[in-house]
Symmetry: C2
Subunit: 391 residues, 2 copies
Amino acid sequence: MKNIEGGICAVKGIRANGVKQGKNGIAIMVADARQLSSSGVFTRNKVIAAPLIITREALSKGELKAIIANSGCANAFTGKKGIQDAKWMAGLLSKKLECSPDEIGVASTGVIGRYLDKQWLAGHLDEVCDHISSSKEASAACARAIMTTDTTMKEVAVELNNGVRIAGIAKGSGMIEPNMGTMLAFLFTDACLSKKALDVCLKKAVDKSFNMVVVDGDTSTNDMALITATGYSECDEKTFQDGLDHVCISLAKMIAKDGEGATRLIEARVSGARSEADARAAAKTIVRSPLVKTAIYGKDPNWGRVVAAAGYSGAEVDQDRISLKFSGNNKEAVLVDSGKIIEGKLDELKSIMESREILIEVDIGLGENSATAWGCDLTYDYVKINAMYTT
Amino acid sequence: MKNIEGGICAVKGIRANGVKQGKNGIAIMVADARQLSSSGVFTRNKVIAAPLIITREALSKGELKAIIANSGCANAFTGKKGIQDAKWMAGLLSKKLECSPDEIGVASTGVIGRYLDKQWLAGHLDEVCDHISSSKEASAACARAIMTTDTTMKEVAVELNNGVRIAGIAKGSGMIEPNMGTMLAFLFTDACLSKKALDVCLKKAVDKSFNMVVVDGDTSTNDMALITATGYSECDEKTFQDGLDHVCISLAKMIAKDGEGATRLIEARVSGARSEADARAAAKTIVRSPLVKTAIYGKDPNWGRVVAAAGYSGAEVDQDRISLKFSGNNKEAVLVDSGKIIEGKLDELKSIMESREILIEVDIGLGENSATAWGCDLTYDYVKINAMYTT
């Protein structure tokens, strides 16, 4: 497997474009397939946004030939009018592409409880559609168009050893604690896979990647990951799964690193858990803890907060068996070994905390299960960004 | 029921004192009872601090004649040495009082993963013990001695209509999401109640008060609430429960209001839930949401975040039935009525957000159950305080 250029347009059959103007943006992705199949996962928030409802419905009826996404307004908690507006978005693109609205996926991100700015969307659609292409610039324009508080564009493309390509773009920076679904992620491959196989592979990949990212612990109303396969290349499921995992984990780490106001990427690896659920809970709780996140921001060697987080995560934990290690900047510090505090390590830990990427390894010492979660530090800028989001 | 002066020393039979010096502090509370009974609730964090282990054991054997608490070091995640140190604290006070160490409750608060400063504690015990008294100044000194990042002392005393008194002191400002137990709260009454009755009343009161406060969502390793009854006055359980609820809710609100860096108290009242568990989950999730908390800090009328929080709280929710109201500064704004957005209310909401106390009412519209939770806004100062806690 190797990383390649070109973003989602590196995948045979995919064309895209996007435009961003202030807070508003439109992104369009179109698949010209040999054999089309598509799948999606959606937020578990019970307040689910209108575009997710109609996209889930479309996926239950058939495949998605194209996707239209807007930024600036989440079209969430907007009732029947919201559903009509999401259908209107699908209709807008289906007319252009001369296909059925049921073949269009719709996604939105932005403020909750506001109606779509239809005038702005209608006014800019032609501009986007007229320049859809398979260039790498088009993929980048598309990735940029879905950004909100993101500071970096998030795109990944890989070529597997058998020549199959998998690529994706994503957005996400705040309101990030995906649960089953995720922030917005649009994945593409030229592999030829059944809808059923895509469903299985996407769920597995999302569980290992987007569902293990926490920025602030708020699960969005609009989380969604969609995958479209254009069917040009044969690929066995195992090889495909490895590639898709890689793409999703790469995008997930980009999201964690670009968390609102973040200055550091935190990776929490939990091993030795009694069950996989325990490992996942402990890892996510560590990266979710405001106290761990602020300590890392302040380079405060307050490692006790990591142990406390594991303790309240719900995972089975015996404090006499826990081991804890921090790494970063090519250094490592073992702070606890099977429940025993290793003293005299605080200076080493402080120096590790200078690193932009900090790895926290917790061995629970009770079993064979492990999991990894990603997060970021909690900073003044997170507060600033979110104290003034709609104004 | 009326509020009275004097803190915990307003309760017949209670004497106290405390000293605070920099980060370190010792507090002593002694009960001279006609008929002593005591009860406690403890953190659900699986990493549980040493003093809680020995206090729980003492309560299983009998009653607590006195309590010794220190601030500056949590004596948590300190293994066998921590247990020895906590027993040493109990021994120190039991020698002074000429009673058994099993009659002493021990509590600690401060940094996790550090050993107690025994020299400091031993060096200051006499100073505290020699001036134990039943004055209101003694209660205040005791309440101040347990403070860490708290900016205000937290004490409440009430006299019920039948003359019975109930009083308590508490500390807590960060690492606040009590689960079953709570931050440190020491409650006293002159009522004559069995241990069993105290157990029941304390659990009920804690569930309605401390367990409904969230500052940051981190459950401490050291949460504990203890109650001591000196048995001088007869009191029926119903009257006592009402009084104890009032004292605990008052202390809980003080903790929320004094959350680290907080500028605003948030009260979330959820009604119309299918179950009590749903109502509690929704209320706590709203006050826990970093996005709700930052919006309130920034006076940003971004009410959609409240609805999103209710949606991911795990409570059963139908977005077409939710109603939402904000109040504060003697104004109110109905933003959603049975799923319908009421437009043109954002200016009113902005003005409500100027208030120091903001009430958020969510009617889920599905049932008859309700719950109230308290929290605070998330500010630059929360980040500052926690980025530099141990240094």
